[in-house]
Assembly symmetry: C2
Homo-oligomer: 266 residues x 2
């Protein structure tokens, strides 16, 4: 089966409305290349590409960009040694990289949240009439942070607010969702409208949601923020994607390679 | 002296070109209010406002927003309990808040970097024909991280790359500068053009600079990233701002209140 047939079958299965200017493009490779195996990952880093080659696969389905900006433009990278090194690795080994981002989030249910709910066993708590909000058994910010840190294998959790606060109404904005997806105040409006005790998030900016929650806590309101990072909140969606793909490609070798949290800490 | 006279005198001293649509606005208070004392801070959080009141001052000069978005719009905050609580505190105590951001960065030298250079004693290393780049005595990523963690009192430093890498060419993009200031690839172009071994940054997104540096390190190139956060890289500019203001207002009480790193860690 060729790359084009794999991607077409995935898009047909998604059955989402047409997305104009989607980032879900073939970032490297050739539509006519015969697929030897599929790898799913959060990001096609150099190490993920090397491991793909070692496994004998040649189609990487990545959630995030390959070339360091939202739309994977490469004009500004001409002559760049990082780009050249990565591209050489890709071209020499005839690796194909297709991005599966917008359609993954647009399909219902959102396939990233499908993986997250499986990993946390939280589907049963999805009770607040919003796919990003949960009503969980009453706990504290600290205990919830410990649970998430262990379940999602996070090296360091950032917390704003009082760790001993009671929480049961939780918003979970994975990846860049906690930035607001083009609307700086969306996460704060979600917190207000759904009367959330805590938001668990991926990416943050210190002057938006962080500032709001810090002020709320300093005013004595029961609001907190637990930050796990982009990779840690979304990679779990790519971990469970092979199970969804196997139904479409029963005869294909399909596996997940973890890109991993990019940071070490000091 | 009234709020208006204080701000006018500061803007005259800046002597920057006119900035259209600047965020440097009076966010709270009254231009005609008599100033009892000036406080400088990274962000006029609820706790900073309370401490300002306790000190008997009534004009806060803040670098970052008061109302949780870049331009401090408040239309979306009507009826919000966090906004109401903060605004009540401000109004009841007749606090004035003026934002000093764009002009602070536009004046030459940039007043945030003035504070940073003083705190690190790095002005002498500013040798790469760029105000954001330094040539420091050869060290390692780990040793540089330890130095910065101690000097800037950072709770947790995030690192990408090899901690044992040798570094001497350093880019330092404070605050939101490491996001690229509207150009996602600016920090990577700076790294390439100035042949930087490491960028020290404030805010990050995992799919841009982080991804570039991780790939570079995985390719064996000598590139690293040290992330200190927005508050930790810019508050130092506000710490040294009273020294600059005292020349303009020799008879005024002026002091710095630390907003502080917003996070705790687990």
């Amino acid at each position: 089966m060729k790359v084009k047939e794999v991607v077409d079958r995935i898009l047909t299965a998604c059955d989402t409305p047409q997305i104009p200017e989607t980032c879900d493009q073939l970032m490297a490779g050739d539509w006519d290349c015969e697929v030897t195996g599929i790898i799913t990952t959060f990001m096609a880093t150099v190490d993920v590409i090397k491991e793909t080659i070692a496994k004998g696969a040649n189609l990487i389905i990545t959630h995030e960009p390959t070339y360091f900006t939202g739309l994977d433009k490469t004009d500004w990278l001409q002559g760049d040694e990082v780009f050249r090194g990565k591209q050489n690795l890709i071209v020499r080994n005839k690796i194909n990289i297709w991005r599966f981002h917008d359609h993954m989030h647009m399909i219902r249910p959102d396939l990233i949240y499908v993986g997250l709910n499986k990993e946390l066993d939280w589907e049963k708590y999805n009770l607040l009439n919003d796919p990003h909000c949960y009503l969980i058994p009453t706990t504290t910010v600290e205990k919830l942070s410990v649970f998430l840190k262990e379940k999602l294998n996070v090296k360091a959790v950032q917390i704003i607010g009082n760790k001993q606060s009671s929480v049961e109404r939780v918003g979970f904005l994975v990846g860049g969702g906690s930035l607001g997806l083009g609307s700086e105040h969306m996460p704060m409006e979600l917190m207000r409208n759904k009367q959330l005790d805590v938001i668990v998030g991926g990416e943050i900016l210190e002057w938006t949601l962080c500032a709001y929650v810090r002020d709320a806590a300093q005013l004595g309101l029961n609001k907190s923020l637990i930050i796990l990072g982009h990779n840690r909140t979304e990679e779990v969606g790519m971990k469970y994607l092979p199970a969804w793909l196997e139904r479409l490609f029963p005869d294909m070798s399909i596996s997940f390679i973890e890109a991993g949290e990019p940071f070490s800490y000091l």
